[in-house]
Symmetry: C2
Subunit: 241 residues, 2 copies
């Protein structure tokens, strides 16, 4: 029997590019307000608005759009033009329409892992947007479950495990956010593989777990995952049973 029953993947910046669309939209937003403020100050105020609005709006592109609009009103002391407001809304529609671009080695690795393991996606954000990206990704046939949650804390992972009757020690989560994909999963006694992405939203950053933390692994890209899993299975078989 394989050590893990289910391998779950974060979606944004684990399976496909995402943060780059936020970075690009933010750059256009800074450009739009360039006559009013320095780009660093705009970024700082926008992040502040996002954090303030998180309890109201949650994650995702619509929340980001509303925070950009609110920041534009604040930073222009209400002088922002209607045309510029429409430009911000159009930025969010562009983001929602963006092509899904898979990360390096995802297209080869996922079908290969699906031969041995039950694969699942656990992602947060806008329901419709995430479903749409998943459908466009070309990966849907390899995943047996897609869980879209409003936040990724230990309780939301515990709910997913209960719902699918998975024991924590048989569950492995793979993702690019220490805060959302790795630490809450380790808390439950499950395993987690951290695959850093080149861009990380400040809100998702966290201290890595202490060296030697049980169940924690880090890989440079997803293509290395089958090899890690093989090594873990071999180590398991070598244990006195």
């Amino acid at each position: 029997m394989a050590r893990f029953e289910v391998i779950a993947f974060d979606a944004d910046d684990t399976l496909w590019h995402n943060e780059r669309f936020y970075v690009s939209a933010q750059a256009q937003f800074q450009e739009l307000l360039a006559q009013y403020h320095r780009p660093e100050w705009i970024a700082e105020r926008l992040y502040e608005a996002e954090m303030r609005n998180l309890p109201h709006f949650g994650y995702g592109i619509k929340a980001f759009a509303l925070s950009m609009i609110e920041t534009s009103v604040e930073l222009t002391e209400g002088r922002i033009s209607g045309g510029d407001i429409q430009t911000i809304i159009n930025l969010s529609k562009q983001m929602l329409r963006a092509e899904v671009e898979l990360l390096e080695s995802v297209a080869e690795t996922i079908p290969r892992l699906a031969e041995t393991y039950t694969l699942m996606v656990v992602t947060k954000g806008d329901l419709l947007d995430q479903e749409r990206k998943f459908a466009r990704s070309g990966l849907a046939d390899h995943f047996q479950q897609v869980e879209i949650v409003s936040d990724k804390d230990p309780e939301s992972y515990a709910r997913v495990l209960r719902r699918h009757r998975i024991a924590p020690e048989r569950f492995l989560m793979v993702g690019n956010s220490l805060r959302s994909d790795i630490l809450p999963v380790l808390t439950l006694g499950a395993s987690a593989v951290y695959v850093p992405y080149s861009l990380t939203w400040a809100h998702e950053s966290a201290e890595p777990p202490p060296a030697g933390q049980s169940g924690y692994h880090e890989l440079a890209h997803l293509g290395l995952l089958p090899e890690l899993l093989e090594a873990l299975e071999v180590r398991d078989r070598a244990k006195p049973g």
Copy 2:
């Protein structure tokens, strides 16, 4: 054995009030733009924006806020002030913070039905907002599953039935929207109880099914549901088996 295994409920305007918050926000929005246009024209253009944005933004309060903002820019030819834009965003935050008020007889009926049936919620809209309302409703203990879906078409109900291994003839859906709660469910060969609400968003209206349609029932309020279920169980037992 009871005829139905699972009774699923729509949430907004079936378990608790919802549409009235949209109606009230829209009235404040019309007031805000009163110097520019007649209220009827504002309502018409807003609805048009909502329909145009549905494929991008989906359902829920954040989508509604973005459509109001877009409509305000359009109807003022860009002259809307930053302060008014902020007022619109604040309207949406008020909606997200609104108290959950249960509909008539829901508080008595749901626990009573939970003694006999497995109860489920199937709702669409913003993930975070729906979860929050469910948590605040005081009903959570009586429901075994909450399914928040991006749209309520036959395919989304079929997915829910597959996921929980429910045969269509053992599934009954209760809701206030013919379009979203009743017709797609009847299409699958399941049963549906239509409980009209005093306010219906134009998008959710539809022709009722033809008279005598199998599996279709209509009730004036949720308190009549236990009686209907008893009548259906008795009728079933009377059938030559």
